[in-house]
């Protein structure tokens, strides 16, 4: 099932000849997508229902100045491509209409995988993980094949098999049995993602004391187990999309936002993570794009439309489907390792206990074990610059008065040691300007750009810190 619908055999040089005349005053491309989705509803160890969908579509796109036109057809073959290109040519008033093709469509190789095998395996895996505990799980196995035929560039094609699970199970907690929700996504490797799925389910079922409501007011926060990726996804990745309207970060290029040990990058080429791809949906090879480099804000995420010779596409042109225009969007957000260990950060916590620290972290795609420490600020008064300088009276650091995190002597010492190891000056280890105070040495978390997370107040903290730094 995962390899259906099988893409038909296509005459790629012919497709290039069709699309190239439409790229005269800009660019043009053809985008094919074939995708399948198997949806299983698992209830207490048995499959309660399943649905399967198979789809294909093609779109032709051309840019003329500031105008971008897209025509889409539901047939992902040469006939569909010809129809899309002809409609595009008509809108552009071009005389380059492709002729009809006489070539018979070649039969695509048929896959012989038994769909029932994967289904049985995944349902028994879930049943074993939750043992006798009641559970409701929705499993989605998606496979998409995308082909981009850009004018004047070689075509590129890639496959993205992925598995998503969301649901809930009756967990044993201190307060008695409670339904606990979960939601995670995995890239499917050759082994069908079973090993990672097994590990994820095992850690989930092992559980903990259960969620505790967060304390009200100002408190320190440790973002562990990949939660920092959620944080940076919202406060950094979205505002750095080149089409983000009124982004608060748009005028802060190269401004220092946080300590130098914080490195955040968009890494679509990490194919071991959920949001990975080798080539983006405009045919541009994927590459690492720094978002925070040594604590400084780096460049935006660009697609071909929002690029120029000085600022080329960063390989982030993404399309939800063949029916949509490409837009600059993030992929895997990777937060680099820092100088402090998780234990170090746990020791310097001041206002909340270990159990609560655990409860506020959200597991996401990526390797467990990493952590970043952030300070959530309460209501602030005065200007950011005044706060950062310590206020008019200058008795205590403004960050301390306002409830922002100020690192302990132990953490500053750890940072200095880390900086010394990396050959940097200890002058770089100033108190943080933004919300994030420390990053553990084990951080390597990633999250797909498709995930949703809300981090209230984080943007204001980051931006006010940046302005103070300037």
């Amino acid at each position: 099932v995962s390899h259906r619908p099988a893409p038909p055999s296509l005459d790629l040089p012919l497709l290039s000849r069709w699309i190239e005349p439409l790229a005269k005053e800009g660019f043009a491309d053809l985008f094919f997508e074939w995708k399948s989705e198997l949806h299983l509803s698992v209830r207490d160890g048995s499959i309660g229902g399943s649905t399967l969908s198979l789809e294909g579509a093609v779109s032709a796109r051309a840019r003329r100045g500031s105008r971008v036109i897209l025509t889409a057809s539901p047939r992902a073959d040469e006939t569909g491509a010809r129809d899309a290109v002809r409609r595009l040519a008509a809108i552009l008033s071009s005389s380059n209409f492709p002729k009809s093709t006489e070539r018979a469509a070649a039969e695509a190789p048929s896959e012989t995988e038994d769909p029932a095998r994967w289904t049985k395996k995944v349902s028994s895996l879930i049943a074993r993980a939750f043992e006798n505990r009641p559970h409701r799980v929705e499993v989605r196995r998606r496979h998409s094949t995308r082909l981009v035929v850009p004018a004047g560039r070689p075509p590129s094609r890639h496959d993205r098999p992925r598995v998503s699970l969301h649901g809930e199970f009756l967990a044993d907690t201190r307060g008695g049995p409670r339904w606990r929700a979960f939601n995670f996504h995995l890239p499917e490797a050759d082994d069908g993602a079973f090993e990672e799925l097994r590990q994820r389910l095992r850690s989930l079922a092992a559980g903990g004391p259960g969620p505790v409501p967060p304390t009200s007011g100002v408190s320190d926060v440790i973002l562990e187990n990949g939660s920092a990726a959620f944080f940076f996804h919202e406060v950094l990745s979205h505002p750095l999309e080149a089409d983000a309207p009124a982004s608060k970060l748009s005028n802060l290029h190269k401004a220092r936002l946080c300590p130098r040990e914080i490195e955040v990058a968009d890494e679509p080429s990490r194919l071991d993570l959920f949001g990975g791809y080798p080539v983006d949906d405009e045919g541009v090879p994927a590459r690492r794009t720094p978002l925070l480099s040594a604590g400084h804000l780096a460049g935006p995420l660009r697609d071909r439309l929002r690029s120029d010779p000085l600022h080329p596409s960063t390989g982030n042109g993404r399309r939800p489907s063949a029916f949509d225009h490409a837009a600059p969007r993030g992929s895997n957000l990777v937060v680099g390792p820092g100088g402090a260990s998780e234990e170090e950060m746990l020791r310097i916590r001041r206002r909340i206990g270990r159990s609560r620290l655990r409860s506020i972290s959200t597991p996401v795609s990526g390797r467990p074990g990493g952590a970043a420490r952030a300070a959530r600020t309460g209501p602030r008064t005065g200007t950011p610059r005044r706060r950062a300088r310590g206020g008019a009276r200058g008795r205590r650091p403004a960050a301390r008065r306002q409830g922002q995190a100020v690192p302990s002597a132990r953490l500053v010492r750890a940072r200095r040691e880390g900086a010394a190891r990396r050959g940097r000056s200890s002058r770089d280890d100033r108190p943080p300007h933004a919300g994030v105070a420390a990053v553990s040495g084990a951080m390597d978390a990633a999250v797909s750009g498709a995930m949703d997370a809300a981090v209230s107040g984080a943007m204001d903290a980051a931006v006010s810190g940046a302005k103070a730094a300037r």
Partner: protein, 427 residues
């Protein structure tokens, strides 16, 4: 329509006898999105088809973008052997005329007009960053093994305007979603006014000066609340919940000034399963009247089908819902009259976050922006306020309904007016 479903029909007949259904959908849409430096035009033809059938005591569902792929999906789904336990409902018979092919008209570029209106409405403090208008036509066809074959067509259109309000260093981005008529026509003045309010209120406003008081809900806020309440009346999922938590001993759901209607007249003669449709009063003058069923939920609950099967996409099986859910008032008043009747309270003009409604626990939470009202007059702008309480009490506390009903393209079409609530708690 280009679908040739003969092979699919044969495949299903051999597997399920008369216990099968084929649904197909073709959408032709044009879209124009204009932003500051980019003008994106789209012309889309989207097709899809789906099959439901019963085989070896299990019901199955498969979907695909072409009949050839649907045949493949049917074979793979049958190999899985993991169909749903509820059997396929008894499918209706009958024949309806087939609709014509869709002919979309491209929307006109209204960016400059809306941008100027917004600038004058906001006194230059807000600017339009993007305007997207989509319109088109949907043609759906259904046939089943019991002999039903029919089609229906409908026009659709919606738009999204995004603006940014700027005051010194602060910026607020706001979106307004609005319905669009044939050819992309819409009320640009109303869009600009809504966008100006949404962009500037968070900049100018402060906290709500009252902890509790009366509440006036703009039609856009009423519509979101109404949409979130609809699942209570659909299918059999919340059957017990409705009677246990929301209805009093007399079967009263809301104040007598409120009627809730399901109006599928714009959808065609039958629903997404081929059942004839009619206009229904779900709540009449405050009293609960009827539930909305598709074939599956009507079979499970032992009630008659009401023609309320909906399919938001061909990829999903049909479920109980409403094509157009409307709120009607017994003695509707103008919005100005409602406003002047407020002695102390809040006028919620827009939602700052999606409405949160917990039907199980009879709770709602609305994060809104608007105006503080006192003695029937505007007192001050409110940047953010949270209204929370029991949903059942909110519906029973409605003291007045406006005559300014507007249609909103949410997950489905919702028609709602201004609502006056006599008692609410703000924070």
């Amino acid at each position: 329509m280009s679908f040739a479903v003969d092979p699919v029909r044969q495949e299903l007949s051999s597997r399920a006898g008369e216990r099968w259904e084929i649904y197909s959908k073709r959408t032709v849409a044009t879209e124009l999105r204009v932003a500051a430096a980019v003008r994106e035009e789209s012309e889309r033809i989207e097709e899809g088809c789906a099959a439901r059938w019963e085989e070896r005591g299990q019901s199955h569902f498969a979907a695909a973008s072409s009949p050839a792929l649907l045949s493949e999906a049917i074979r793979d789904t049958a190999r899985l052997g993991t169909g749903g336990s509820p059997t396929l409902p008894a499918l209706p018979a009958g024949t309806f005329p087939q609709p014509d092919e869709p002919r979309p008209a491209p929307p006109a570029d209204a960016f400059e007009a809306v941008a100027q209106l917004l600038a004058s409405e906001s006194k230059g403090q807000a600017r339009l960053t993007s305007l997207a208008v989509t319109c088109g036509e949907i043609v759906e066809r259904i046939e089943n093994g019991a002999g039903f074959a029919g089609g229906r067509a409908r026009l659709f259109g919606y738009g999204n305007a995004r603006g940014v309000g700027i005051a010194s260093e602060r910026r607020v981005t706001a979106d307004v979603v609005f319905p669009v008529g044939p050819g992309g026509a819409f009320d640009s003045a109303k869009v600009a006014q809504s966008l100006a309010d949404r962009s500037l209120l968070p900049l100018k406003g402060k906290a709500c000066p009252f902890q509790r008081g009366e509440l006036l809900l703009d039609p856009s806020v009423s519509a979101s609340l109404l949409a979130a309440t609809l699942p209570l009346f659909c299918g059999d999922a919340h059957r017990m919940l409705l009677s246990r938590r929301y209805l009093d001993r007399n079967g009263r759901f809301s104040s007598e000034s409120v009627s809730l209607l399901d109006d599928p007249s714009g959808e065609g003669p039958f629903d997404a399963e081929g059942v004839p449709v009619r206009r229904k009063e779900v709540v009449g003058e405050g009293l609960f009247r009827t539930r909305l069923h598709d074939l599956g939920s009507s079979g499970r609950s032992g009630e008659n089908p009401t023609g309320n099967a909906v399919r938001p996409s061909f990829r999903l099986p049909p479920r109980a819902g409403s094509a157009l859910f409307a709120l009607d008032g017994k003695r509707a008043a103008s919005a100005t009259e409602l406003l002047s009747s407020v002695t102390r309270g809040l006028y919620a003009t827009a939602l700052a976050a999606p409405a949160r409604v917990d039907l199980e626990n009879d709770a709602y939470r609305l994060e809104v922006e608007g105006w503080a009202l006192q003695a029937g007059r505007v007192r001050s702008p409110v940047a953010a306020a949270t209204i929370r309480g029991r949903l059942s009490e909110l519906w029973r506390g409605i003291g007045g309904v406006g005559n300014d009903r507007r249609i909103f393209p949410l997950q489905f079409l919702v028609s709602a007016p201004t609502l006056f609530v006599t008692k609410a708690t703000f924070s």
